[in-house]
């Protein structure tokens, strides 16, 4: 299916303002996506609102307003539109839309609904909106047909691209009605939506709508932007965290054939919020390779800055000594001290989770063209509105002077929630006046990231004589993600790292959470399923340890704790409730599928884990073999997800497969370490990603549906992969992995 050229933002009219959505500050979509968004003076066109075009031949082109990072959103959301519009899915193609913020009397507003993907919300925040887009357009088509027939709209029906009037025995193709329909004033009230039993498209596996472009190399990612007169730029960023150039000699660089300009880029002061990550020196050239060669020829004298003595050794030693003291109590249910005092047995363990890098395979890049009073940005980003803000910061322009297009993205994983590379590109274009493409190399990417926070967790449980948990505390010393965020108070830094309503809240009555913030100078950010990746590893490892220490079955222990289906209050993202019975259902399923409890040969073992992430539920069962010399082989994986209604089961399965691989890949070998104020890793040789040989052919990904509404799926399947793996390693070897990554710990 060929994709048409991107739409440019249509000229504004009074009618557009009528449909503009919530204010930008208001977050996600509240706007009413009625069909009357077409400016009246363009009546000849074949569009119904911003999202739908019906060609004369009856093909349907659906605009996609969200960034595609591989999660399948540019297939899944058009499915919702097509479902309610009532058209044949095979007639649908998609058209990417640019950022649609417009200035109104009340400030900026979303012209095409909220645009941005993170926190597994891309589907859930558009679930109502996109169905209403389709349903509102369908209503307009029905009304247009009814006017022609002089009958009531209620006497008409739609069927796969046609409006029919059964009483007259006549029908019109949508293509014949669209021009009329676009001119009708729409009703105030929201359109009626289909009931689930009428779905033809939703709930059925659909393939990625633009996959053919991908496999033929036609898809244009951000890095593939080619514009007239475009120059290429790279930046030599400070190798030291918060360092800056004192002076530089560009003469050798400027002698490199194709190098056009060299100048300093000033990053933030050490305690300032990040607009860009680092100070450095930019090189602009006529090709990427010339820019890279020019950068290699630079001679820069660096001020190593205030973090030059930062090291991972000191960071971990500080974590350990912090945990020997008293921290900030952020949750204190019941009476933990009394529970511990009354316990027949107390188990204490410490776990370490490292800094990791996002490493999307498409390195950061951005096209920017800043002219006197306008700016054009083309970027791979998860947050196009953030790209607009970053460009506004860099250029000083009003945001309605900044045009942002966003491409299919070569991996997100949370890295492209921040748009520092957009700001850099805009700075360079503003300085030179040229249209430029900023290109990061892999080394730039690994060494300049908003890393997943690292931390040391101490978990303590008091058990009664039968092995039941009376009290539980999790104490975390970590480098908070909220470091250098504006408007985050020191006492709130914990909120990014401990999610208080996670298991075992409301299940273990005496529960205490305690936080210690450890300063280190590298930037932190959201890495796919943020703190769930750490906390699921810690909690699911610790449950396993309790089970083995007390002679209980790891499955039965968890099932007893989770109990029956019931809604517990959950105040964090993914709430308002958490149903532990849904975890029990998944866990029982994967355990049965993999043969939990069966006798395995020596050196083989099965591990299980389950966790609630951002509204969705997942469980893993993994079987491993570990040789006498410590070689690890993952033999089998059974994964299961409950994300409510799976709108596109094909995409949900893909996300579960990919999230599982991500969790395993990260647990096996990934960590970012610091020595003398520098990031020690640089490329895939020392920051290894899983390859096909690491992932077994015996890999089942199951969807267990629940209810009539979807949750997200992109992050849900990740957190449980690592603890299922390390629990399996324990079952196979008796060796407990308490420090990630696993690396060569099995060789010891």
């Amino acid at each position: 299916m060929q994709r048409a050229e991107p739409w440019s933002a249509p000229a504004l009219s009074r009618r557009c303002f009528l449909v503009a959505g919530a204010s930008l500050a208001g977050g996600f979509v509240l706007g009413v996506p009625l069909a009357h968004a077409v400016p009246a003076d363009t009546a000849a066109q074949r569009r119904l609102g911003h999202f739908i075009e019906i060609t004369a031949g009856g093909d349907v082109i659906i605009g996609t307003n969200q960034p595609e990072i591989g999660q399948g959103i540019r297939t899944t959301l058009p499915m919702l539109v097509a479902e309610e519009l009532d058209v044949d899915w095979v007639r649908v193609s998609i058209r990417p839309m640019p950022l649609g913020i417009v200035r109104t009397a009340d400030g900026y507003a979303w012209q095409y609904g909220g645009q941005g993907v993170g926190g597994s919300t891309g589907l859930t925040s558009n679930w109502e909106y996109m169905r209403e887009v389709g349903a509102a357009a369908r209503r307009q088509l029905v009304r247009a047909a009814a006017e022609r027939w002089k009958v009531a709209p209620e006497s008409c029906a739609t069927e796969q691209g046609y409006v029919s009037c059964p009483a007259l025995g006549e029908r019109y193709a949508y293509a014949d009605l669209v021009a009329d329909a676009a001119l009708l004033d729409p009703p105030e009230e929201k359109p009626a939506l289909k009931s689930r039993s009428d779905y033809r498209i939703v709930g059925k596996p659909q393939r990625t709508i633009d996959a053919e472009e991908i496999v033929t190399g036609k898809t244009r990612y951000g890095i593939d932007t080619r514009q007239p007169g475009m120059r290429y730029a790279v930046i030599a960023r400070s190798p030291w965290l918060n360092g800056r150039p004192v002076s530089f000699n560009a003469s050798a660089a400027l002698k490199v054939d194709g190098v056009l300009d060299v100048f300093e880029i000033r990053g933030p002061q050490p305690d300032e919020p990040y607009q860009i990550l680092a100070s450095g020196v930019a090189v602009v050239a006529t090709s990427t390779w010339a820019a890279i060669k020019g950068r290699n020829a630079l001679r820069i004298e660096w001020d190593k800055g205030p973090n030059a003595s930062d090291s991972s050794e000191k960071f971990w030693a500080d974590n350990a000594s912090m945990l020997d003291g008293a921290g900030q109590v952020v949750l204190d249910d019941g009476d933990f001290d009394a529970a511990i005092a009354a316990a027949a047995r107390v188990i204490v363990r410490r776990y370490e989770v490292p800094f990791v890098s996002h490493a999307p395979l498409e390195p950061q890049n951005c096209y920017a063209h800043v002219t006197g009073d306008s700016c054009h940005i083309i970027a791979p980003t998860q947050m196009p509105a953030g790209a607009s803000r970053s460009a506004a910061w860099a250029t000083g322009l009003e945001r309605d002077r900044i045009r942002v297009e966003f491409t299919r993205v070569g991996g997100g994983f949370g890295r492209r929630l921040t748009n520092d590379y957009v700001a850099e590109a805009a700075l360079i274009s503003k300085k030179t006046g040229w249209p430029i493409q900023l290109q990061w190399t892999r080394e730039d990417d690994i060494r300049n990231d908003f890393y997943r926070p690292a931390g040391m967790h101490e978990v303590r449980a008091g058990l009664d004589a039968a092995g039941s948990i009376l009290g539980w505390t999790q104490r975390l010393a970590s480098a908070s993600k909220h470091y250098r965020r504006p408007d985050v108070a020191a006492e709130d830094l914990w909120q990014a790292e401990l999610y208080p309503d996670d298991f075992p809240r409301h299940i273990v009555p005496n529960l205490r959470l305690e936080y210690f913030h450890n300063a280190i100078g590298l930037a932190r950010g959201s890495w796919r399923a943020p703190a769930h990746t750490a906390n699921a590893f810690v909690i699911q490892s610790f449950l396993d340890e309790i089970a083995h220490e007390t002679g209980q079955d790891p499955l039965e222990l968890r099932l007893a704790l989770y109990g029956e289906e019931r809604e517990l209050d959950y105040g964090g993202h993914g709430g308002p409730t958490f149903n532990p019975g849904r975890l029990a259902r998944l866990l029982r399923f994967v355990a049965e599928r993999i043969g939990h409890g069966s006798k395995l040969p020596a050196g083989h073992g099965i591990g299980i884990a389950s966790h609630f992430t951002f509204g969705g539920y997942a469980a893993h069962a993994i079987q491993v073999a570990v040789s006498g010399s410590g070689d690890l082989k993952i033999e089998r994986i059974v994964a299961a997800i409950d994300c409510g209604l799976a709108v596109n089961p094909n995409a949900v399965e893909a996300q579960l497969q990919g999230a599982t691989v991500d969790g395993i890949s990260t647990a096996l070998g990934q960590q970012i370490t610091v020595r003398d104020g520098q990031i020690q890793q640089s490329n895939f040789h020392d920051y290894p990603l899983a390859r096909i040989r690491d992932i077994p052919a015996r890999f089942e990904a199951h969807i267990l549906p629940y209810g009539d509404t979807p949750t997200g799926a992109g992050e849900i399947g990740l957190p449980t992969a690592a603890p299922a793996l390390t629990n399996a390693i324990f079952a196979a070897t008796g060796k407990r992995i308490r420090r990630l990554p696993i690396l060569d710990q099995l060789k010891a």
């Binding site: 496999v215 190399g217 194709g258 997100g412 892999r442 096909i692």
Partner: protein, 160 residues
């Protein structure tokens, strides 16, 4: 100046002799289907065929190109109508997520199947080292086995 062929067309490049083929394709010929991932031969996103053999184009210098015949993802399908069987298998199993690595995966697998027409899982593990950051390996493996069937059944006739 080096003269070589890209997707059947004669081309010339007169830039620096150390310029990697990757950047020649992308910046000078606007063949952007070949992707930059690491620049050090680790990830395979830039895989193309040099005289029919899969090579990581970030490690192939301009100086070595004289007289070579290069095929990129844009030139893999024999004509505009039909897909290569490996591409067809990729669509059948809906392999791509973000899709960024997939051109390189496909180019690597075409060469793998040329050498081992009916690979076992162990063959795949031993011979395919391209990185997929999204973790599509389960479907890549399925698609390789399917592509082997399509090729055995007669190649182009079995597509679409």
């Amino acid at each position: 100046m080096v003269e070589f062929r890209v997707n059947g067309e004669d081309v010339a490049f007169d830039g620096d002799a150390d310029t990697p083929l990757l950047w020649i394709l992308r910046d000078h010929f606007s063949l952007t289907g070949t992707k930059f991932g690491c620049g050090t031969g680790q990830c395979g996103a830039c895989t193309v065929h040099v005289d029919g053999a899969a090579q990581r184009s970030c490690l192939v210098a301009a100086a070595t190109l004289d007289g070579r015949s290069i095929t990129t993802i844009e030139g893999l399908a024999p004509d505009g109508e039909n897909l290569h069987p490996v591409q067809a298998a990729w669509l059948e199993f809906d392999v791509p997520q973000c899709g960024y690595c997939q051109a390189g995966q496909i180019m690597a697998v075409v060469d793998l199947l040329r050498q081992v027409p009916n690979p076992t899982d162990a063959d795949i593990d031993a011979r395919l080292s391209n990185i997929c950051r999204c973790g599509t390996y389960v479907r890549i493996r399925q698609a390789i086995h399917r592509a082997a069937e399509l090729l055995a059944a007669g190649g182009d006739d079995a597509t679409r």
